[in-house]
């Protein structure tokens, strides 16, 4: 086994430094390509599907651009970005720990139902901003509470959370629909929906735009979560748990506690997304059986962003445009909006394939800027670890090691 003879901590020679920089640049380019290619491929495949259905893909995508970006429509996209971003961040946190919170639909639905149910009363009776904060906390609490059963089952008994969160999701959506049709029903109309909050009592816009302020809150949340994940003790514990639960136990990390707290944080963020959704000037109410399932669509982008809270922002922006423009484009072409679900599934599939190809070229962990080691010596590496470890390792690794030269 080759061993370097450099004493630890020795300063780097200029040649080595240049080599390192080149390698890091290559790495970043590599990561960038691997994040974008799946999207491009999915759009192409989606285009083929459109053609097979007798639609012109170029017209369709053209409409997507028109309705999603052109003129002032980008603001519309920006508004729809808010709940997407918060859900994405919520999923990023939990996926980092390699825990699968697939119950986002139920958590979102209940949060939305409760905010829409109590919203009209609260905004009338309380000072507006106080009401907003209270409603946001309520939604966050509900979202978090809805993760408790799966979280405790996993923490205490190791019960598979994929199934438990999914089941809770179905129950949550049903419960939300029931509440909307029941106690929260708007008594003055027949369609099953809640009382609409008056327009002047919804979130105000950022001055000069028609985007409501919740976008700023979402950005702030992104920054806070990113900081926590990359620079705090909690974030490191989460990373260790995600990379290797056995090692986490060995290091003395309290696994049950970490499991539950990461679940709660995830649920809270998703609940917050629901509050932003209901309180946005575009809505103000929710209709039963039609609560959006944003989480389904945003999942692939969470992975594409390598579980990095900052990197997920452009991806979410992209999807926001795609869905806002796509909704209109679909109705123009007489297509159901579920078409977007196909695109999303394709992105995930292409992503896994591209990951495989990328890993093969490099024999080993793929996303990290390994820096000096690669440049200065060749070592015998263990066989590539299964994808589960690498994803979480990758994301945090980028952050933990950035700036080291």
């Amino acid at each position: 086994m080759a061993e370097t003879t450099l004493p630890a901590g020795a300063p780097l020679e200029p040649a080595a430094l240049a080599l390192l920089r080149a390698r890091v640049a290559t790495r970043l380019l590599d990561v960038g390509i691997r994040s974008l290619v799946p999207v491009v491929l999915a759009l192409v495949a989606g285009g083929l599907l459109l053609a097979a259905l007798g639609r012109n893909p170029f017209t369709f995508y053209g409409h997507v651009w028109d309705y999603g970006v052109a003129q002032d429509n980008w603001q519309q996209s920006a508004v729809s970005m808010v709940p997407l971003l918060l859900i994405a961040v919520g999923l990023t946190v939990i996926f980092r720990a390699n825990i699968w919170n697939l119950g986002y639909n139920g958590q979102f639905a209940l949060g939305a139902a409760l905010v829409a149910g109590y919203g009209p009363t609260l905004v009338d009776r309380l000072p507006l901003w106080f009401a907003f904060v209270l409603l946001a906390l309520l939604a966050a609490a509900v979202g978090a509470a809805w993760t408790l059963v799966p979280a405790l089952l996993k923490a205490w008994y190791g019960t598979n959370e994929i199934i438990t969160t999914l089941m809770m999701s179905f129950v949550g959506v049903d419960l939300a629909d029931y509440l909307i049709k029941g106690p929260f029903q708007d008594p003055s109309i027949r369609t099953p929906q809640t009382r609409a909050i008056a327009f002047d009592k919804l979130l105000p816009p950022i001055p000069g735009t028609s985007i409501d302020v919740s976008l700023l809150v979402a950005f702030a949340a992104v920054l806070v979560v990113h900081y926590v994940l990359t620079r705090t003790a909690f974030g490191l514990r989460l990373h260790v748990l995600g990379a290797n639960p056995r090692a986490a136990r060995h290091m003395g990390i309290d696994l049950p506690r970490l499991t539950v707290s990461s679940f709660l944080i995830s649920g809270a963020l998703i609940g917050g997304a629901a509050a932003a959704y209901v309180l946005s000037p575009f809505w103000g109410y929710v209709r039963a059986d039609q609560i959006p399932t944003y989480g389904d669509s945003i999942i692939p982008f969470v992975f594409l962003a390598r579980l990095n809270a900052l990197a997920v922002v452009p991806f979410v922006a992209f999807y926001a445009i795609l869905s806002t423009g796509g909704d209109f484009a679909a109705s123009q072409e007489n297509l159901p909006t579920d078409f977007l679900l196909v695109l999303v599934g394709l992105i995930l599939l292409f992503m896994t394939v591209i990951e495989y190809l990328g890993r093969r070229r490099e024999l080993g962990s793929s996303y990290l800027p390994a820096g000096l080691v690669q440049a200065l010596r060749a070592t015998r590496r263990p066989a590539p670890k299964p994808a589960l470890d690498e994803r979480a390792v990758a994301a945090s690794g980028v952050d933990a090691d950035e700036g080291r030269a």
Binding site: M1, A2, E3, T4, T5, L6, P7, A8, G9, L12, R231, T232, A233, F234, L236, R237, H239, V240, A243, N244, R246, A247, R249, H250, M251, G252, I253, D254, L363, S365, L368, A370, G371, L372, V373, L376, R377, A378, T379, R380, R381, P382, D389, E390, V393, A394, S396, G397, A400, D401, R404
Partner: protein, 544 residues
């Protein structure tokens, strides 16, 4: 020795017959390492050919090539003189090469019979009756008795190995490859293995026996080939083995195995041991009267999966003492290590550190009190390969000052202290930001040692501390353990390597089926006593 006699009488010295298997000019390279460099090797009918070499010499790769798991980059393989290509385990079996791997390939949840029938795809229905008969035949041939319906997980390790040998021979193999088969055997089981091999030789089979233990090769081998750093360092033929005196053989082999490093070697050359023993005797007697730093009082902890737990274990570790825990692998060692470290919950009993109860304290609390654990699972548990060396050094201190303040990571203190630790523990790494997974095994172990032995360690549990390490690093690690003891700390060394325990420990305890069956002072004769305890003789308890 008896095995040599068998070899002569079986008449296996093939006159003009081609060897059963011959490897010529084998070359296999991995990124950065030439695992096998122009290796030629053969096995004749009725002989045991031992392949001897340190860890990392290239033995496993060679075995992989023989058994079809690995394809060579260059070179030829001949079966009965005809060149063949072995591209999968199935092909290897078809050519008559049966392999018993170091890590068990028995499926624990299935029965012995099911394990044996696995892979026989000729007919859809399983021929259970036929398999039973065959097993009985093999049992007779090898002189062993195995219950066909027993669940593989319930068998003792020696029995499991016998089943594996039967499995390797099941499809009519003529060459048996044994990869380090004795690491987990009692002396009795080793004797049984010798007998089995003798009978196989009598049947005309060829056996390839891979080991890193010199005395085994001398005891069993008709031919001994030494591998060093991927190349054949030399071969000792039967004539030489029978003629030359033991000491000369030993020296010759050691020279082949280690080249110019031979003088540094401690465990294989049993020379230094005697000198050291005299020096340490004095220290050991002192340690025996010292105060107790760690006490286990009737501690029980559950097992995990197929591994047993510990039951009613009581022991005392004194100030400056190195206490060894010997035993065959899988007798509760991991449970013992984890319950002391706090990773496993004790269902019964008390653990005291300097007289203070720690039984219910968490891992991190025990860490802070100076109770540390160096795990044997370096990559799967002890380090996070994707994180930097510096972060790995503080993974057991997440959130603690000065490395974290109010939860925020403090890069400065982390890097600085990491740099100091890396220097102090001689970790060879380009920088502290290097990913730990890229370091060599020895340096990963040093990182773990740096982590556990820094910040005032008091009692450290070592689980297989030198397993798989090269000679230099092994010596360094053992020195660190001694250093810890000399400085007033105490060490609990759990290891399946009896030689290692005999070298560094003051007393040796024996773990058998989760119970502590005796503690032996490390004096002349300890090896035999320990061996007897491992097998289950009446408890030989000797207070230090």
């Amino acid at each position: 020795m008896s095995v040599h006699e068998h070899s002569a009488s079986a008449g296996a010295r093939a006159g003009g017959e081609p060897p059963l298997v011959e490897l010529i000019g084998i070359r296999k390279a991995y990124p950065g390492v030439l695992a096998n460099d122009d290796v030629s090797f053969s096995v004749r009918r009725g002989e045991v050919h031992c392949l001897l070499g340190e860890n990392g010499a290239g033995k496993s790769t060679l075995i992989g090539i023989l058994s079809g798991l690995v394809r060579p980059d260059a070179g030829a393989i001949l079966i009965d003189g005809r060149e063949v290509s072995i591209d999968s385990p199935r092909t290897a079996l078809e050519h008559g090469i049966g392999t018993v791997y170091q890590h068990s390939t028995l499926i624990p949840a299935l029965s012995v019979l099911e394990n044996l029938m696995l892979g026989d795809t000729r007919r859809l229905r399983l021929d259970v009756a036929g398999a039973r008969r065959r097993l009985a035949e093999f049992g007779e041939m090898l002189g062993v008795e195995v219950d066909p319906d027993a669940t593989a997980a319930d068998l003792s390790l020696g029995r499991q190995q016998q089943v594996e040998i039967v499995k390797a021979l099941w499809r009519g193999s003529r060459v048996l490859v044994l990869d380090e088969p004795t690491s987990m055997l009692t002396p009795q089981a080793f004797a049984e293995l010798e007998q089995v091999l003798g009978r196989l030789k009598g049947q005309g089979l060829g056996v390839v026996f891979i080991t890193h233990k010199l005395h085994e090769a001398l005891s069993l081998g008709d031919r001994i080939t030494v591998l060093r750093q991927g190349r054949i360092a030399g071969t000792l033929e039967g004539k030489t083995l029978r003629a030359a005196p033991a000491e000369e053989l030993r020296a010759a082999i050691v020279g082949l195995m280690f080249g110019e490093e031979a003088p540094v070697v401690t465990d294989v050359a049993e020379l230094r041991e005697d000198i050291e023993r005299v020096e340490l005797d004095h220290d050991r007697r002192r340690a025996a009267e010292a105060e107790t730093v760690l006490e286990l009082d009737d501690v029980s902890a559950p097992g995990h999966g197929t591994e047993p737990g510990v039951e009613h274990v009581s022991l005392r570790l004194g100030f400056g003492e190195i206490l060894g825990v010997a035993g065959i692998d899988g007798n509760g060692q991991r449970a013992l290590a984890e319950v002391v470290a706090g990773q496993r919950h004790a269902t019964h009993g008390h653990i005291r550190l300097y007289d203070a109860p720690v039984t219910h304290l968490s891992v991190s609390a025990r860490q802070k009190l100076g109770l540390r654990y160096v795990t044997d699972d370096r990559l799967g548990e002890g380090t996070l390969g994707g994180l930097s060396v510096s972060l790995n050094l503080f993974l057991k201190r997440i959130g603690q000052r000065p490395f974290w303040r109010f939860g925020r990571m403090q890069r400065g203190p982390i890097e600085q202290t990491a740099g100091e630790l890396v220097q102090r523990f001689d970790v060879r790494t380009p920088s502290v930001s290097t990913r730990a997974g890229t370091l060599s095994g020895g340096n990963i172990q040093k990182v773990m040692l740096a982590r556990e032995l820094s910040f005032d360690p008091k009692v450290v549990v070592f689980h297989k501390p030198t397993y798989g390490l090269d000679v230099k690093t092994t010596a360094t690690v053992r020195d660190m353990i001694r250093g810890l003891a000399r400085a007033g700390g105490a060490a609990l060394v759990i290891s399946t390597d009896l030689d290692e325990l005999l070298e560094i420990c003051d007393r040796i305890a024996v773990l058998s089926r989760g119970r502590l069956v005796g503690i032996v002072a490390n004096e002349p004769g300890a090896a035999e006593q320990v061996g007897r305890l491992m097998v289950g003789d009446a408890a030989v308890e000797a207070a230090a």
